[in-house]
Amino acid sequence: MSPNKEEKVNADDDTTEIAGYRGQALSFIRKAKVNDGDLIRLRKKNFVAEGILIPRAEIGADDQHLIIKMGNGYNIGVRVERGLEIEKIQEGMPPHVEIPSRKLIKNTKLPTVGIISTGGTIASRVDYKTGAVMAALSAHDLYNVVPELGELVNIRAEVLFSIFSENMDFEHLSKLARTVASHIKDGDDGIVIAHGTDTLHYSSAALAFALQNLPVPICLVGSQRSSDRPSSDAPMNLLAAARVAAYAPFAAVTVVMHGESSDTFALAHPATKVRKCHTSRRDAFRTVNASPLAMITSKEIKVLEKNLLPRDKKRELVIKPRFDKNVALVKTYAGATGDLLDSLIDKGYHGIVIEGTGLGHTPHTMYPAIRRAQELHIPIVMTSQCLWGRINMRVYRTGVELVNMGVIPGQDMLPSVAYVKLAWVLGQTRDPSKIRSLMTTNLVGEISDQTRTSQFFPGV
């Protein structure tokens, strides 16, 4: 059998594809009555290869090649062209991931931790359809993959979402806050949230504002290496997060991730002072303008900060899960104009955070749009794209002018945190003076009154 040009099906017709094959490749396997998982033999000229037909990666893959997994475990792509012969040797099952199941035995001596899974690399596996890493593991599966968890805590697992963190929005965050609150009401001794790392620091800030007066710790945890690889940071991060959730003496929202590239210790970062600072390293998360709360090894938790709110299960949780999603974060840059601000104002946004330059500046070209926003009572909060350090709008004329226009100085708040906070504040009130007062007052550690020497990373 060889591919026939007349029989070419419409490559755009997705409804007819088999395991990601389309176009020429699809028509070829369909004619041979072959499906993914079947053991087949391919032959052309001197070439012979046997293997299981593997799904074709959908994104960016062409319709010219069949992928087979040979007996030696290797995948190869064979071009569908004149002279290619196919033979079905054995009907097969499509490949599937099977996790050895493990009976859950509750150990009444151990504290109970709620593990809420939202997706991301920490809860992901290789997806053969898209050829990429995809969210697929439930929290429960993770527990099976990290059996040591059973010796540390009892688990109450819940899969809330299966999304990449870049798709997390305020609706998700409200739902997440309510879910965490219900776990706490049900008596969990601590909460772990498995989360994608890209926007992990937005979610941690959101939870810090939405859930106040905490009785127990809430730990957001992610991983930078997917859990399908032996070197994944997921098991260690998850163990560290569970340890903080169950045993830390303080009640705070934290981000628990690798503290350095080695698998030696994790750090618990304060929810409103943390940021992903590297695209790929395990220790991508850094505390900015503050100090990490604790260092976690495989044996203990070492608390690094004084005066933390102690854990107390009797404390009454305050839940304020409402966010106003009509908030934007805008960056200024050399050559920036007011166009972006104008368009947000036109669209009816309720508040804007500017990631300004240096001590908190914008170019003059933005002034008219800023004035317009003020006239319409749209709060504008200033932060700095320097990330490290505190803004000061009294040093240069530009800062003074912006303050005089009504821009609210965000002090040492990270832009991402000021953005989440403004959305949360607007979810509580639309009164301009209350907004200004809330935005300039430290509520949950997002603003500090001291900038310490040790809080900036070394230059050399």
Partner: protein
Amino acid sequence: MQKNKNKREIDYQKVGLKVGLELHQQLDTKAKLFCNCPTKLREDPADLELLRELRPTQSELGQIDRAALFEFQKNLKFLYEGYDDTVCLVEQDEEPPHKLDEEALRVTLTMTCLLQSNIIDEIHVMRKIVIDGSNTGGFQRTCIVGLGGFVEDPRFGRVGIQTIALEEDAARKLDTDKKMELIRYRLDRLGVPLIEIATAPDIHDPEMGRVVAEKIGLLLRSTRRVKRGQGTIRQDLNISIRDGGLTEVKGVQRLDLIERIIEYEVERQINLLEIKKELEKRGAKPSLFEGKPTDVTDVFLESKSKILQLEIQKKARIMAQVFPKMAGIIGVQLQPGRRLGTELADYARAYGRVSGLFHTDELPNYGITKSDLVRLHKKMKKQNGDAIIIIAGKADNVEKAFLAVQQRVRQLFKGVPSETRAANEDGTTKYMRPRPGSARMYPETDVAPTIVSKALLKEIVNSLPESLEVKRHRFIQEYKLSKQVASQMVNSLQLDLFEDIMERYRVPASIVAATLLETWKSLRREGIPMDELTSESVLSVFEGLSDQKFAKEAIPDLLSFLARHPDKTINNAITELRLESIDLSVVESFIESLVKKNADLIHKRKLNAIGPLMGDAMREFQGKVDGKIVNKILVAAIKARLASK
């Protein structure tokens, strides 16, 4: 039962020997396979360190790989060393891989053409699970580039090629700590491109194994893009005999060991099959070898055995177990210097982290006396025909070790277990781990598949290296090598080095050929570690010759020096061997006085005096001045002397 140490004559046809080779050759590319770091190894102190752990994961088809699990059970930590400027985040498993290095792919495609193999249309990079720590990610990235093909030898015929793969080399293992819990690796080698060529099990004779490996090695060298020197080529051998098992011998670094490894492995398998027969004859069965060991520490409290006393001081336990009907069998030699007991000790070490074992076939010995044994036999209720094995260490380690030893003994009833073994220097092998199953691969989704375009393929085909036959003719024409030397040169693994030297320096081809073929061999025979010589060192010697820094007579001494001192340069060698070129006036004045001193001799023998006087002169100027020049000056001086008379 085979008991004498003399090698027996084996009819390899009759025992059904089948051998497949897997050659791994490092490529000499500018960049690593998946990042832009250089492919050079470094010996200076590392400036970064990482401590990591690995755990087994699900494979694509759902089974956790057996070999992968075994490594995890060993509960290891890995310390990786690197260099900030030459080891990037990719090797550290802190950044996704970049795209497949094109230079490495081109070399592999060239090899695929040279071996008449079919090129894969679309190349898919896979992750091969390896959790011994040699790869920071816990997997090695590898892809098949060619399928099928063959290599041919006039004497032994055709051997099929199964696969040609391009993969990344692993990190270099530096050492393991005493407790065997921390392994140190250096990341400089991780990611260096390797071509892996696997032959079909068409090899039926040990010598054929070596010849085929040399053939493939030669083709690799002909691409002029492969690394040379110690550790740059490694062979794995898959060896089996009829009724035996498939043994994978890993990490053979010298081609000349292949023959002996195959011979020894056949011997081992035959001996294991004979042990099986003997056990059956004695009426032993696998179920005899179960149960827990007995603590016999009290028996040895007063023992004179230093090893046991040391263990007792460390508060370790000494345990023993009876192995019924095994007397005389544990002491059977499987390979030269390796008994069944040695084999069992390998298992004990691998699974129990103990330092070894004693068995009654080798006792009394090692300070364990007859009276120790009498007490032991009594306590263990040993019967005639039984053997006892003794292991010392931490209690749970010892128990694990005994479990492994029992399991291995039960396997004796099946004959030869399939396993992965490591090659020793002498050609014998030792147990490494069970043979990995095939489910240890899944796609490397961070690297997009590479389509081999028709245009690229055409380019490769049009720039294939010149064939050895064409090369031989060229050497005769261009370099004026004799037919015999030219043939030897093109069939030598030094071929690419020869060509590099000839292209770079103005030196006579005959000297280069003689050095690489004859001098090399004789220096190795003298015990000079020639494998330690880097190509750079050899090139520097000929550069020096070309710049007339020394005479050609100095080459053997220089090569020996550089082989013995891999960290030193040619200039160090010249200084330390005192080979600095000598002003010709010094030679002339020396010869003048020599001629004067030997006036009588010259008078008597006329020009025939050159012989003895030349000897004296060369003793003085060995390696510092070319013999021809000395000869010329000497002849002139003698002639002048004779003329003046």
